[in-house]
Symmetry: C3
């Protein structure tokens, strides 16, 4: 099957349900940028699609960084003077600041408060906080919980370990007809947060399953990595291979009910940038386009000046713009099967454009070839308008001088990419056009 | 006389009447892409301006096409069972589908209807239809005629011939000071249709007459050709000569009362594209500008990728956008002398810009030259504004560094091209500027 | 002190008062493009800042021009038949057309009127007129004065001399760390006119005083010259040196209460053009930007095609757009200390951008460097927004690939230039960035 036929054959409704179910299954696990929760998640992904899991030892230098110690946590709580657990990790893994060092002490309320994080504006939500690179400990709790804490002594316990170990990540590779790669990267380091980024993980897995059944021009590399340190680690270990990446997307926040957003690559007008915009425009799907900025997810690393890869990010509500972002309200209700399926359709449409976007040479560049005698043009003349397909033939012939790609042509003609692609295929079949390998 | 003086000297009102009269004279003839109607028309043009008439034999290969058989028609009709002519070629040559093969038969109404074409939305108009490249026959009629046809047997007769012969076209050439050419191309293959394209034929002939009396920088080539196959044939026989074409316009639909439209060349921002826009803007004439598309008239061939000539099309209501297009309503009432004369003025204004658009070198590029002592600047100083001509002097001097043309300067200064041209001529006369031949 | 700290340290209010006082002191002198009034003015400037005063002999060839004779005037009047002075140079030096030749005659009112200039629309204002290059004489007066003149004989006297001598101009040079120069040019040839251009003279002197106390990257050249002939003379004598000029501004009309205007250099998008726009935008000061035109002040000469220097003009109400322009109403009330100080602040802001606008190389271009362990990034993670300074770090690192200047980065990031500059300095201090000398 060709990529361009995917949208016709995938059962999007079923795919939406299946992605939501997969996110639901992964939701309870306490993931971090290292540790067993991350490992468990990668193994579960590996049951869906072939996954090469890498372990990179603590202390390994990766550019300006080094791989941190591995963090694992079993339990954590705060007990009041009556021995009642007023904050309990078993109820939500967001309650502990990630990478908290082990602690077991009696402590006054005043001192305890210097270790507590809440959201006064959202008194029922637990914030998500991390402290990967500065040794400390802390608890996150709802503001209502915080306000109920009575003066007195508390007992805090965090049963964690922070020790030599390794950072884990997973890689899924689909070999296409060329060695040129499309990168799909999602971070998999967040604990019980649904949109950010179990939605991205579920969509990536589904996309890999679907593309696995296709005949592909490009090779596809799916990365399931801890945010920031994961992409830095991958790039440090694959700096030569990274040059194969021709197009890429960071897959995140694809499950909420907001509209689609696209953040351009640092290059700003790379083929991936134009493909996303054209694919969504052809689907008449509203798309808000934002310029690149060096704040966000792993595109920060892919688009660092030494690499400057053409990697954008296609999301629904983008990074940091929704109230539920990095709180307990980013839960399984916040992501919807229909939104996941709509995002999947958008990704498939983009990939269809990338896969089909070749350059051709018109083999009869001197005047138009006679389409009529080949049955490609209506026999009876005199009408005011050409049909859409006839127009597509004329545009493809007119611009196929080996400098314009089909995407260039579809943009200039303001015709759907798919129509332009069909026209090109038909013209090739009639010996009027020849693909030019660049 | 210089081209820039044309607009001052041409009697536009008389020219409008004369163009309309010429169209009126040509109107009754049944032209097609070959045949005696076309030949008669070329001979009539040849009585106005010197015309080299070419005959290209049937079967001659022209790129991907071959010259079709020659079609001639003497008479055609449909008679009802009472022997009454219900459709009669003698009343309108649009009644027969062009290139209909000869036929004389008795036929049932049901079968007849498969050969009839009408316009249900315009029940009083006869459509214009052709079938150059697929052998068939047919009649066009008003929808009211069609509806009146009673069940029964009919007799149809088309007294036509489709046989070896030749394709005719005419060429008028005006030699200028340089071998660089301006192409003016109009199709002359339509039967009794006035705006499309007797208006273009009449305007081209008038323009050739006027330019014939001028001292010209460019050489001008006027083509009177059958649409599509004519431009393909000309290009096939003149593929080297075509390289001389520096600017070109397809002249069509210039007689209706709609506003002016310009369709850009494939290059999009060629000198002809900018000259048309600037010339019309200077005349404060509304002009709607459209991007190139590969559908339309013979610009399709001139702008095919192998040639990619800078050829646009300056029309009134463009191709296919008016209801009367390719119907019997595109008649002599649909075109107006005032519209023809207004179009002629626009063409003359464009040609003035092309003729005057040279590059100059400021011979005193270091600071301004002292215009005052040459009488080119007011003697008394201290005023807030320079006059328009003083401004034009300053702009021409400031930008004449051999990279900017006068059109570049007029665009940037937002001053009329004619004023900039006069300023340049004055500065040349004062030894301050020198033309640079590129 | 660095230029970027200037705005924090200069007492703008005091500077405004001081510039107004300086203009007040220079106001009564009758300056022209040559002569003792000009010389006196240059000497007074030389008491504020070191000034090299040049004298260029009458008749010296300067490109297409030659230095005119020197004009000096002691007195001038028109007496009516009763011997009453009806126009008196001692009351306003605008009353005499500049460069009037000496005259003492009895004359009828009719003949006298051919030598009189007034403003009928502004009956209380005296116009300012000159006749540098055509020998004549004349008086300017209010229209009310003109209307009161009774028929009869008048006595006119202009006690002037027009003789061999020299043209004077002054140059103030501040040596910076590089030989690349910033040009600040103001004309100093107008008699009692305040905005045009004592405001520019006063601002230039103040700017020179302030920059004199700074450590500067660029060298700064301040020119105090007669308009047109002065810049032509300077350029003719310094055509090689002019190549050192990297950025320049013509300083004029900076004291009225209108908003700021910037006229771009001929290049249109030179660094000075962008620096002015960014600096004023960062100050949230409204700025109207106009394209270059070859009419105006000395930018006409600096931007002539042989030089094409990147020189724009930052003014308040621009050249010729205010009613008071070149009339007696352009007086000391028309310019305000607050407006002068606001203009000074704008010039200082522009210079801060120019001084700080370097190119840097990110020394860790492969992925982001770890800002956290250097204390440059908040320790606790998980927040939706980075702080402004963190964003600035990320933008500087992301775009510092030696092709982008800090101005490029500030524009693309849409962050204040000063913030971007501080970020770059901090990153240099941490060994993450290195300046690239181009």
């Amino acid at each position: 099957m060709k990529a361009s036929q995917l949208l016709l054959t995938v059962d999007l409704r079923a795919a939406g349900e299946s992605m939501h179910a997969f996110a639901t299954e992964l939701y309870p696990t306490c993931r971090s940028i290292t540790g067993d929760g991350l490992r468990t998640t990668l193994k579960r992904i590996g049951r869906q699609i072939p996954l090469e899991i890498q372990e990179v030892a603590t202390g390994t230098t990766v550019f300006d960084w080094s791989v941190p110690r591995e963090w694992n946590i079993r339990d954590a709580w705060i007990k009041n003077s009556r021995g009642e657990k007023v904050v309990d990790f078993q109820k939500s893994n967001l309650h502990v600041v990630q990478y908290s060092v082990p602690v077991q002490r009696r402590i006054s309320l005043d001192e305890l408060k210097t270790h507590l994080y809440s959201l006064p504006d959202r008194p029922d939500w637990i914030p998500y906080r991390t402290s990967y690179y500065q040794e400390t400990w802390g608890f996150c709790l709802t503001h209502r919980q915080l306000e109920k804490l009575e003066p007195g002594e508390y007992e805090v316990k965090i049963d964690s370990t922070l020790a030599e170990g390794s950072l884990s990540y997973g890689e899924h590779f689909l070999r296409g007809r060329t060695a040129d790669e499309v990168l799909l990267s999602c971070h998999v380091c967040h604990p019980s947060l649904a949109n950010d980024n179990l939605s991205g993980v579920a969509l990536s897995v589904k996309l890999a399953e679907i593309l696995g059944g296709c005949s592909l021009k490009y090779s596809y590399r799916f990365l399931f990595i801890p945010g920031t340190i994961g992409s830095i680690t991958w790039l440090a270990r694959n700096s030569e291979r990274a040059r194969q990446i021709q197009h890429g997307l960071v897959v995140t926040c694809v499950g909420d009910s907001g509209g689609l957003h696209y953040k351009r690559s640092r290059r700003g007008d790379a083929e991936i940038d134009r493909a996303v915009i054209k694919a969504l425009r052809d689907r008449r799907q509203p798309l808000e386009v934002r310029d690149f900025s060096p704040y966000g997810y792993d595109e920060r690393q892919y688009c660092s000046p030494g690499f400057n890869l053409p990697v954008g990010s296609l999301t629904r509500s983008p990074h940091g713009t929704f109230a539920q972002y990095h709180t307990s309200a980013d839960n399984l209700d916040f992501i919807r099967p229909e939104a996941l399926s709509d995002s999947l359709a958008a990704y498939l449409a983009v990939i269809s454009v990338l896969e089909g976007n070749s350059r051709y040479q018109n083999l009869n560049p001197w005047c138009e070839p006679q389409l009529g005698r080949r049955g490609l043009y209506r026999a009876l003349g005199g009408f005011a308008d050409a049909g859409q397909m006839e127009l597509a033939f004329l545009w493809v012939l007119n611009l196929s001088d080996a400098t314009h790609s089909l995407l260039d042509i579809a943009e200039r003609a303001d015709l759907p990419f798919e129509l332009i692609e069909q026209a090109a295929e038909t013209l090739v079949a009639h010996g009027l056009l020849e693909e030019r390998l660049v």
